[in-house]
């Protein structure tokens, strides 16, 4: 295994020290984007007017390298996918000149079409203006000019093996198969991960020239062969900023942790309460403590209702890398709350104590200033929430 898995983390303000500034939440919804601005104490929040009202906004992300540029992945029910870019933190927006798109195939052949841009990841700190995007159906794209123009990245979009692992649209999630969880190792711009629903987790140590699968130890739906990468359905993969050799994953089939250079995922969700299970969408890691992570379990039984177990919402936290989990539900409705929290819709800030934030399919934004010990609803009546990112300016 290469030394990249043993190199120490270069201390940065985001990994070693806690943040103290105001937190701003970037919300993507089925009917537009919103900004929720908090004060320094994280007690008072103000909801913006909608941006891109009527657009289906899957992700809004701040560029941490300049703390000013935002990218938003959008489409509408009628219109095709695009990326909007703001260099003044959302005051004005301009559309990408060349949004992510698959190459045109010769006439008579069936080429793929990007349905929507699903995931946005800023590039490495050493590569200003580099961004990555994941699409539905699964495609990996890169921009080298801050999101103005996008090109297919790496070889995977058209590689026969990867196309087999991606499966067809029918093999994907109800809203289409997705490439997501694009991760750049903070120690090395060439060390990349991405995940596909379905299609497993993949790693490159050479800047995308080659990828290897990273699915050992992950389970798949009963009756299917875990050796077949197609059957793997990671929902969300997160890398620990303070220890980039540790990743957590919420999968269709459980919660996992991996400590590189190992190639073996460990199902730490087995330690969740049996009546809750370990199915869900989001995965949140602590900005400084690699032993701490949060999940938001959902009902994955029978027909997969994908709502809080029993209508009683709760996050769960582990503070020992998955050996045990603690329920966090203070402030939530005690019953009759049939939420789902989607994979991009839960996140953390870098304050001390850590602030947690999530949006629900019912259009509510919830927050905790205490690492989940107590929750408060920040705003209600938004459209179905697809993504929540905490931006610290």
């Amino acid at each position: 295994m290469s030394d990249r898995h043993r190199a120490p983390v270069k201390p940065t303000t985001t990994t070693r020290t806690s943040a103290t500034g105001p937190v701003t939440l970037l919300i993507g919804t089925r009917k537009g984007a919103f900004i929720v601005r908090g004060d320094r104490s994280r007690r008072t929040w103000k909801l913006s007017a909608p941006m891109f009202l009527g657009h289906i906004v899957h992700h809004v992300v701040l560029d941490p390298r300049d703390r000013r540029t935002l990218l938003a992945a959008a489409r509408t029910g009628h219109l095709g996918p695009t990326v909007f870019r703001s260099t003044d933190f959302g005051k004005t927006w301009k559309e990408a000149r060349n949004p992510p798109a698959f190459p045109k195939v010769p006439e008579g052949q069936k080429g793929r079409v990007v349905d929507h841009v699903f995931w946005l990841t800023p590039g490495h700190a050493s590569e200003p203006n580099v961004w990555y995007a994941g699409t539905s159906p699964q495609g990996l794209f890169r921009s080298a000019d801050g999101g103005v123009t996008w090109e297919p990245f790496s070889y995977i979009n058209d590689n026969p093996q990867y196309r087999e692992w991606m499966g067809t649209v029918q093999d994907g999630t109800p809203d289409g198969p997705k490439l997501h969880s694009i991760i750049v190792d903070p120690r090395d711009h060439a060390h990349l991960y991405f995940a596909m629903s379905g299609g497993g987790v993949h790693e490159s140590v050479d800047g995308g020239k080659s990828f290897t699968t990273l699915v050992q130890g992950l389970e798949v739906v009963d009756g299917f062969d875990p050796a077949t990468v197609t059957f793997h359905d990671p929902h969300c993969v997160r890398l620990c900023p303070r220890n980039p050799d540790r990743l957590y994953q919420q999968n269709h089939c459980g919660i996992y942790r991996i400590d590189r250079p190992s190639y073996q995922w460990v199902r730490i969700g087995r330690n969740m309460p049996k009546k809750i299970g370990d199915i869900g969408f989001p995965m949140v890691v602590h900005p400084r403590d690699p032993d701490t992570a949060w999940v938001f379990p959902m009902d994955g039984s029978t027909v997969w209702p994908r709502v809080s177990q029993g209508g009683k919402p709760a996050a769960y936290v582990t503070k020992n890398a998955g050996k045990s989990w603690v329920r966090l539900d203070k402030g939530f409705p005690r019953s009759d709350a049939w939420w789902t929290v989607k994979r991009q819709a839960m996140t953390a800030d870098a304050h001390e104590p850590v602030g947690l934030y999530f949006g629900t399919t019912g259009g509510e934004v919830w927050a905790s200033r205490t690492g989940g010990a107590r929750w408060d609803c920040l705003t209600r009546h938004l459209p179905e929430i697809y993504s929540v990112e905490a931006a610290e300016l």
Binding site: G54, G77, H78, L79, G80, R97, P99, A101, G111, V113
Partner: protein
């Protein structure tokens, strides 16, 4: 010829509901439109040069199935946003 623009695309045409564009096929007219209003074409035509799922293009009263549909002087082109759910 006149191209009628549906409301979802008028942010590209400075809110104009009808614009003029030249071409002897639907493809040429859309290219001319995209040249004038960058980005408009990709919102309605895929990277494989097919008309997007919830978009319809009519030439006068006849639906154009492909971008190769020929146009004659005086034709009117209608870009229509079809039903796409709630």
């Amino acid at each position: 010829m006149t191209v009628h623009i549906p409301s979802p695309l008028r942010s590209y045409t400075k809110e104009k509901s009808a614009v003029e564009a030249e071409g002897i096929t639907v493809a040429e007219v859309l290219s001319a439109l995209d040249h004038r209003y960058p980005g408009l074409r990709f919102r309605i035509i895929t990277e494989q040069d097919t008309i997007r799922k919830h978009i319809r293009i009519f030439v006068n009263e006849t639906q154009a199935q492909t971008l190769k549909t020929p146009l004659r002087p005086g034709d009117e082109v209608y870009i229509i946003c079809a039903l796409s759910g709630g």
